[in-house]
Amino acid sequence: MSNPFERHGIGHLSASSLNLWAAEPALWIMERLLGRRSPSGIPAARGKAVEAGVNIGLHDPALSVEACIEEAESAFDRETTLNPDPRRDEERKKLPGYVRGALAELRQYGLPDADGYQGKVEIRLDDIAVPVIGFVDWRFSAHGLIVDLKTTERLPSAIGASHGRQGAVYATAHGNFGMRFAYAKPAPAKGDGRQVQVLEMSGDDVRAHLAALRLIALSLGRFLALSHDARELAGLIVPDFDSFYWSDPSVRAAGRDVFGF
């Protein structure tokens, strides 16, 4: 079998997988090759929960914000019920603010496509044997826009590289659609009352991030081609345990298991 990805049981890639490979390859190996998956963190659970609440509010404009918040809180509770992270309670308290802010902004876009939420997209990158997949938050076909919601403590001035790569996949899968990220804070800013910042990717942004994704995927493919033995590949990489990627004690313990220190 000449396809280095499928040799390791990888049938597809994603922006998040390639971002992890680029940022902390040792963790990528531990999770994706050796199957030692990290538990979902509180910030990720927060993001999913807010999305769930906003989603029902976008699809039913008459639905009360309180009902959307309740949906978000339920989703958060389901996701984190066994999570011992001390930030859990504090993050849960912020959910109503995130949902209110994001709904106020995104309801102005009108109704998203009925089948759009978490719709799967798939693109191909030149010279990469497996597809890159993603799941979009909302597609507003009436406006030719894809919108992805990000929860944050502070509004960014630009779309970062990891989000840009994610958006490049979504935009490429949708032809002429514009790609927007809506960054939502838990509360309006004290100064100007701003709570949501929507940033749109230019065509150049999409092309540049797509080119980066391809190069990252090529790097990964070359690495995987070195051996069909995942353990042997793990022996070629040294983790940076000072990195925040390893801050969760269970992840650190698994890292110790895999990398020996």
Binding site: A23, L199, S247
Partner: protein
């Protein structure tokens, strides 16, 4: 370029250094201060902002941020001191990304000096796009007319890639930046913000006879 600071107070006390006690604190869960050990952390010196800060008991912190590091805003009034606002990041010590702001002269001087080192090293090819790691390795006792205060020893130890959880963004809101008289009355749209699309007219009904 040297930072125009050097003169206490924390605006949003996520992490702060108490120059009187030589202790570091973060906001405890549920409020209040939680003492931590001398930290090692990422400091987003590329996005540091300087300005005038006032921290008064029982009142919300106030600040007027300089329009640029080399352009000092006029003093807004009594009780304001020169200080800085910057984001710091450490999952271990801070639990993630936090704001560090201070108008303590000793903390500001420490930041100013470590900024000079940052500025010297930031242009190197190998450091481009990276963030400096700062370690607090101790403190110097500073005796003056107010008694003994401490200045933290901050060392730039290495440069690392910016974590995804540590956005390349300013710690201040645009509305906090001094813009002269014109800005005082206006709330400009956030840079780069894309407004929602205009509503589309409802589709006209199509009658069978139109075919």
């Amino acid at each position: 370029m040297a930072l125009n600071i050097g003169a206490s107070g924390i605006i949003r006390p996520y992490v702060k250094y108490n120059a009187k006690s030589d202790k570091w604190f973060i906001r405890a869960e549920g409020g209040g201060d939680l003492e931590i050990a001398r930290p090692t952390f990422l400091l987003d010196l590329a996005n540091i902002r300087t300005g005038w800060l006032r921290f008064q008991e029982g009142q919300a912190p106030e600040r007027l941020i300089d329009p640029a590091l080399d352009k000092v805003a006029p003093t807004p009034g009594e009780g304001f001191k020169r200080g800085f606002v910057v984001m710091a990041f450490s999952p271990k010590f801070f639990g993630g990304a936090v704001e560090m702001a201070s108008a303590s002269i000793h903390v500001s001087n420490a930041i100013r000096d470590v900024y000079a080192v940052f500025e010297e090293q930031a242009g190197r090819t190998e450091n481009r796009g990276k963030v400096p790691v700062i370690a607090c390795t101790g403190a110097d006792a500073m005796k003056d007319k107010y008694g003994t205060n401490y200045r933290p020893k901050l060392e730039l130890t290495k440069w690392v890639d910016r974590p995804a959880e540590f956005p390349d963004a300013s710690a201040v809101e645009e509305s906090e930046v001094w813009k002269g008289n014109a800005a005082a009355a206006s709330k400009p749209a956030p840079a780069g913000h894309v407004p929602p699309p205009a509503a589309r007219p409802a589709p006209q009904p199509v009658y069978e006879t139109d075919f």
